[in-house]
């Protein structure tokens, strides 16, 4: 569904993404992780056609994101870490606007169902300024899912959501995957990645350093089966020496607390 070949993004001399290649099948949820500045957001932006790659190709549903951008973009949705909304459009008007952009004739029924699923149906006439951070995120998701995308990119999807919102978001992501969508999820929350991703892609300095299922990666980075959590694997994979991360310091003896 998504085919990436030699994707490279340069900013002058700086290499933000370096020769990245991978592919994602329908129903797969791929976790994109890496330390700050690893090139995760730049990669997602290239995959979504927001910024052009300097080299390499990205194909979405068989359509090149540069040469056949319209057909490719019709199949995807990109959710940024900060919900980007138009502050003078109400929730309902957002859906109306997006429906016209993506030509969704049945948007009223679909939109109502999405608002219901995301529990913001009672906010249909509210402006974004009247919504909480989590509700804004939900509105952005409703807009993105309105045209039933087959490829979905999430950049830090849980930011600002309450525990119930987090649960619903996880369920929603898994539901889309079960329905056949190919999903890439970029996050620093390793427990989220561990919980819902079927595959992991770890980037560092713009390069892919790991690509595999959780079981494969655990096997590769564990000295004994099951001895390392994803967090531990992440630290081992991304540290320069490959040494494990420093352990949590022991508690101070009683009476020495600050």
């Amino acid at each position: 569904m998504v085919q990436v070949e030699g994707l490279t993004k340069l900013y002058g001399e700086f290499v933000a993404v370096n020769e990245l290649s991978f592919s994602i099948q329908p129903g797969e949820v791929v976790g994109l992780v890496g330390p700050n500045g690893a090139g995760k957001t730049t990669t997602l932006r290239c995959l979504a056609g927001i910024i052009p790659p300097s080299r390499g190709t990205v194909s979405v549903g068989g359509h090149d994101i540069v040469r056949d951008a319209i057909a490719a973009k019709k199949q995807l949705a990109f959710f940024t870490d900060e919900p980007r909304l138009f502050d003078y459009l109400t929730v309902g008007q957002h859906l109306n606007f997006v429906a016209r952009i993506y030509q969704v004739p049945d948007y009223e029924r679909l939109g109502a169902a999405l608002l219901e699923e995301l529990e913001i149906a009672n906010k249909r006439d509210a402006l974004p300024g009247e919504l909480s951070r989590g509700m804004k995120q939900k509105l952005a998701i409703a807009c993105g899912l309105l045209h039933s995308p087959r490829v979905i990119y999430f950049d830090e999807p849980l930011t600002g959501l309450d525990p119930l919102g987090i649960r619903r978001m996880k369920d929603s992501i898994l539901k889309r995957a079960r329905d056949g969508a190919a999903i890439i999820l970029s996050s620093h929350l390793l427990h989220l990645v561990e919980e819902i991703c079927s595959r992991l892609l770890i980037l560092k300095n713009g390069r892919k350093i790991i690509d595999g299922t959780l079981a494969e990666i655990t096997r590769k980075f564990s000295e004994q089966p099951g001895d390392a959590s994803l967090e531990e694997i992440f630290f081992r994979a991304t540290s320069e020496t490959g040494a494990p991360a420093p352990a949590v310091p022991p508690p101070l003896p009683r009476g020495n607390e600050p």
Binding site: I50, R84, Q93
Partner: protein, 579 residues
């Protein structure tokens, strides 16, 4: 503690200055700074020490006979400002701090009085630059530069203290159960009583103004001076005159003698503010949050965000789910323009324009007035072309912060470009057509040989103006995509001399591009007009010439939209330069 706050203020100012100088390494800021510097030099600074040479008519250095009048008028202006400060505001005292200041200073062991001192110190920076700027302006008209600078500083500082003290007093009144309504009623009643007292006293004491006098400005001013300088007005304005007097002093000695009572008055204000023990923290926290939201709105180019109590707006038209996608952007941006331009308003305006036009024409007010009205309409149309594209910014200038979202839409660049610029074009064209309709209604009743020609010109304008609007809007939209940090839309808008310079360069560039774009259209217009007027005369030839020009402009506009679309496709959101 004060030393720590001073240190904070010093470092904030110093770091800001250093970052300003550092960014001059970038050519765009350096060029902007040079252009802005030259502008300020030629228009203000070179007059700083010797006024306007060779323009005696402009030299408004205060002559002794006018000094008292200016002092009285200045005092009256201050009096009105102060009166409004007591009358209008309804909020509790809220010293405006930034969110960072609230986060660091409010939980810190700093007394309320020290916070007020910090606020006063901080406001001095703004007052210093305001005084400098006002001196640059006022010095163009003569007077001593140091006297002007110190005079402005004294006026602004005293006013600042008074506003602060006034807000504290309002809060204390609220705390004592005196409502805003009662306070306003009291202040308004006092103001009316004072005005009536002055009027009655002037009626009884001063000789009537000569009926012929209004034609003579000097006698009117003399009458005003007598009202303000004698009787009750003299007592009311006396403290305000003390504040204004140093600014108007003719020499150093006069300034010195005027300064003593003014500083005393300033000191009294300072004591008033410092010894007012009013809880302002809660309101300040709220104000700082509001300020942060407003700043974020302005910095993202969203001036609509400044409006309080924003309500959902009805769309201008129903947007179907299928059809040309660019229409969705027009629909969205028209909602952003606001209810002020609702269809109901357009119909009302249309009716008013036609009724006024027809009434004026039927009233037989004379041809000269009708011609004058048409000239005024032509001027208004000219201004709509000049100012409209600057004021109506619901296009890329507004939406650039969400460019990444626009780029995910399955639309071609030209479709997004067209959709983005259509809303301001629609609004601008509608205003222009209304003006043209009114002008045409007047012309229709105008006897004379030029009526047909004027109607032909009006018809031509109907066709040509929207296309000109498109061209005029294409230029700033292309500029914002080419030089995003030069236009007021980024996350951190640029301020200072370099920003002024950048705007000047941009305005000149816009003029140049427009001139180049107009050359073929003007050529086409003149060519067709010349040929057709030989056969049909000017009145009949003008519309055809305008159509020829419109075709050329339409081709240019179409090419411009395609080019704008290409620019948007190539616009790299990640390379959006930070300031």
């Amino acid at each position: 503690m004060i030393a720590a706050l001073l240190n904070l203020q010093y470092h904030v100012f110093r770091n800001r200055l250093v970052s300003r100088f550092k960014r001059l390494k970038q050519p765009k800021y350096l060029i902007g700074a040079i252009a802005g510097g030259l502008y300020f030099y030629f228009y203000f600074v070179r007059y700083l020490f010797h006024g306007i040479v060779g323009r005696p008519g402009m030299n408004l250095a205060v002559s002794p006979e006018h000094q008292k009048l200016f002092e009285l008028l200045g005092a009256l202006a201050l009096f009105i400002i102060v009166l409004l400060a007591w009358l209008v505001p309804h909020e509790r005292a809220a010293l405006t701090f930034t969110e960072a200041e609230v986060a660091f200073l409010f939980p810190a062991p700093i007394t309320r009085r020290n916070l007020v001192h910090y606020k006063l110190m901080r406001s001095q920076l703004g007052i210093f630059f305001s005084s400098l700027f006002l001196t640059l302006i006022s010095r163009r008209f003569g007077g001593n530069v140091w006297i002007h600078a110190l005079g402005w500083w004294l006026i602004l500082s005293t006013l600042n203290l008074h506003m602060l003290g006034c807000s504290f007093a309002r809060t204390m009144l609220l705390d004592h159960g005196i409502s805003n309504r009662f306070r306003r009623l009291l202040v308004f009643g006092l103001a009316v009583a004072m005005a009536v007292g002055v009027w009655v006293w002037a009626k009884k004491t001063l000789p009537e103004l000569d009926p012929a006098a209004p034609a003579n400005l000097d006698s009117v001013l003399d009458y005003v001076q007598r009202i303000l300088s004698t009787g009750p007005a003299a007592y009311l304005l006396y403290p305000f005159r003390l504040v204004v007097r140093p600014f108007l002093a003719s020499d150093a000695a006069a300034f010195f003698w005027a300064l003593i009572p003014a500083l005393l008055f300033f000191g009294l204000h300072y004591l008033w503010v410092i010894y007012s023990d009013v809880a302002f923290e809660e309101a300040s926290v709220e104000a700082s949050q509001k300020l942060a939201v407003r700043l974020a709105a302005v910095r993202s180019g969203n001036w609509q965000g400044l409006k309080k109590n924003r309500k959902p707006r009805r769309p201008w038209f129903k947007l179907n789910a299928t059809g040309p996608s660019a229409t969705a952007l027009l629909w969205k941006n028209l909602i952003g323009v606001g209810q002020i331009f609702s269809p109901r308003l357009w119909i009302t305006l249309l009716v008013i324009m036609v009724v006024v036009g027809v009434s004026l024409a039927n009233a037989r007010v004379g041809q000269n007035l009708l011609y004058l009205m048409d000239i005024l309409i032509a001027i208004a149309l000219g201004y709509s072309l000049l100012l409209g594209p600057q004021l109506l910014r619901l296009d890329f200038r507004h939406d650039l912060p969400v460019a990444d979202i626009l780029k995910t839409y399955p639309l071609r660049g030209w479709q997004i470009a067209l959709g983005e610029i259509l809303a301001p074009v629609v609004v601008l064209a509608a205003v222009q057509w209304l003006l043209l309709l009114m002008g045409a209604a007047l012309v229709f009743y105008l006897p004379g040989k030029y009526a047909a020609l004027l109607l032909a010109i009006a018809f031509s304008a109907v066709v040509v103006l929207p296309l000109l609007d498109v061209l005029l809007l294409l230029i700033p939209n292309a500029a914002v995509l080419l030089f995003p940090s030069w236009i007021q839309t980024g996350k951190d808008s640029v301020r200072g001399i370099e920003a002024t310079g950048q705007r000047l360069i941009f305005a000149l560039g816009q003029l140049l591009v427009l001139t180049v774009a107009l050359v073929p259209a003007v050529g086409g217009f003149v060519g067709v007009l010349f040929l057709l007027q030989l056969v049909f005369g000017y009145a009949a030839a003008v519309p055809f010439a305008a159509l020829a020009a419109a075709v050329i402009l339409a081709v240019e506009a179409g090419l411009g939209v395609m080019l704008l679309g290409r620019l948007f496709e190539r616009f790299d959101v990640a390379e959006e330069p930070a300031n």
